[in-house]
């Protein structure tokens, strides 16, 4: 197996039970696990591999965008209700549940600011209520 040569771009990089200090590093006989972890860290920009980079462990941006599109699924817009209103639409893929969960966290973080103006507060509270409703429906459908 080829060696692994890399530069740690932070003060230290930990992987596979080892800690490598910032600067040049070399592992003559890296484990398969270390090679994989190094590829991930290289893609994240935390180390720079000069020898031993195994690209198969890292998804390209293009492949990632394709995977995201698949994870979002299709946009579903409901029909108008008898009273003329319309419930919010949604994406029907698995991305949507995690997205709503994170939206609620972000909104609640903002709502914790006591200096938030009233208009923004109402906007966010309405948004959170709507997101919680949608999450409930998604989780109910999943059961």
């Amino acid at each position: 197996m080829a060696g692994l040569r890399f530069t740690v771009l932070t003060s230290s990089w930990a992987a596979d039970g080892q800690t490598f200090l910032g600067g040049p590093n070399e592992v003559a006989k890296p484990s398969k696990e270390l090679l994989k972890l190094a590829a991930g860290a290289h893609a994240a920009g935390d180390i720079k591999i000069s020898e031993g980079f195994d690209a198969k462990h890292v998804q390209t941006q293009a492949a990632g965008e394709k995977a995201l599109a698949a994870a979002m699924g299709k946009r579903v817009e409901p029909d108008y209700n008898p009273d003329g209103t319309r419930d919010p639409g949604r994406w029907d893929g698995p991305w949507y549940e995690g997205h709503l969960d994170q939206f609620i966290r972000d909104a609640e973080q903002r709502l914790a600011n006591p200096e938030l103006d009233d208009g923004t507060r109402v906007y966010l509270e309405t948004g959170v209520a709507s997101a919680r409703e949608q999450l409930k429906k998604i989780q109910k459908e999943a059961k």
Binding site: V8, L9, T10, S11, S12, W13, A14, A15, T19, E33, K36, L37, A38, A39, G40, A41, A44, G45, D46, I47, H57, V58, Q59, Q61, G64, E65, A67, L68, A71, M72, R75, E77, R86, P88, G89, W91, G93, P94, W95, Y96, E97, G98, H99, D101, Q102, F103, R105, A107, Q109, R110, N113, E115, L116, D117, T120, Y123, L124, G127, S130, A131
Partner: protein, 247 residues
Amino acid sequence: MSVVASDLVEYHAATQSDVDGSTVGGAIDTLRRPDFTQVTAGDTVEAVSSSAGDTTQTLTVRARKADGTIVSETKTMNGTTAIVFSGNGAVDRILKVELSATCAGTVTVRKNSAGATYRTIPVGERGFSAVFREGSSSTSGTVNYYAKTFWKNTNGSFALLGATISETSDPSGTITFGLAASVNDSGTTTNRQTAPGGVTFANTAASVPGTDLAAGAAIGVWRNMTLATNNAPIRSTHTLQIAGSTI
């Protein structure tokens, strides 16, 4: 209401920068979001997926420790069993979290053990990071940093009418913002200390060019952080909001 608040999502631009000397900006990166969550100083970080099958992807956590050093650790996901970034140990700030590939489940990054959630990575996305990170003030004058994000209308069918971007929180008082000249742009600046051309920075609300933000469209937003001479370390947040009307 057709466009709801959760349809409006902030994402990073293609090229962020932790270092001086690299191009910053570009087109939207829908795989990565900016994060403003502060961890409780001294936390150790862990991550877990909602899918048992997520056992091949790696997750890299880059963080700043209380002594100022920047550490990084990479671990392989272990499905619904949490992985603990004990190599990084207790951290003061999370700077960046990055998956090597998309996961089948939602990945939760939280305080060890099974503690408060810092952020989740929805299925299909790859991570999150702080907007301004690893910059420093100077002993001999002010320093300006620039970073770009996008607000996207992820609603697949309806436009956000009369869209505006406004600032809702700037506790450090160091940040102004300005919009790209057109939606869906890919403009860059030479490096993170060079102002992008054609962008006017202020703290006041700005209208999206073209008035409406169409379904699926995104508007680039540049932030400018100005650090005073010998500025104290900043561990803070900055939030923008996009608003408009909808049918």
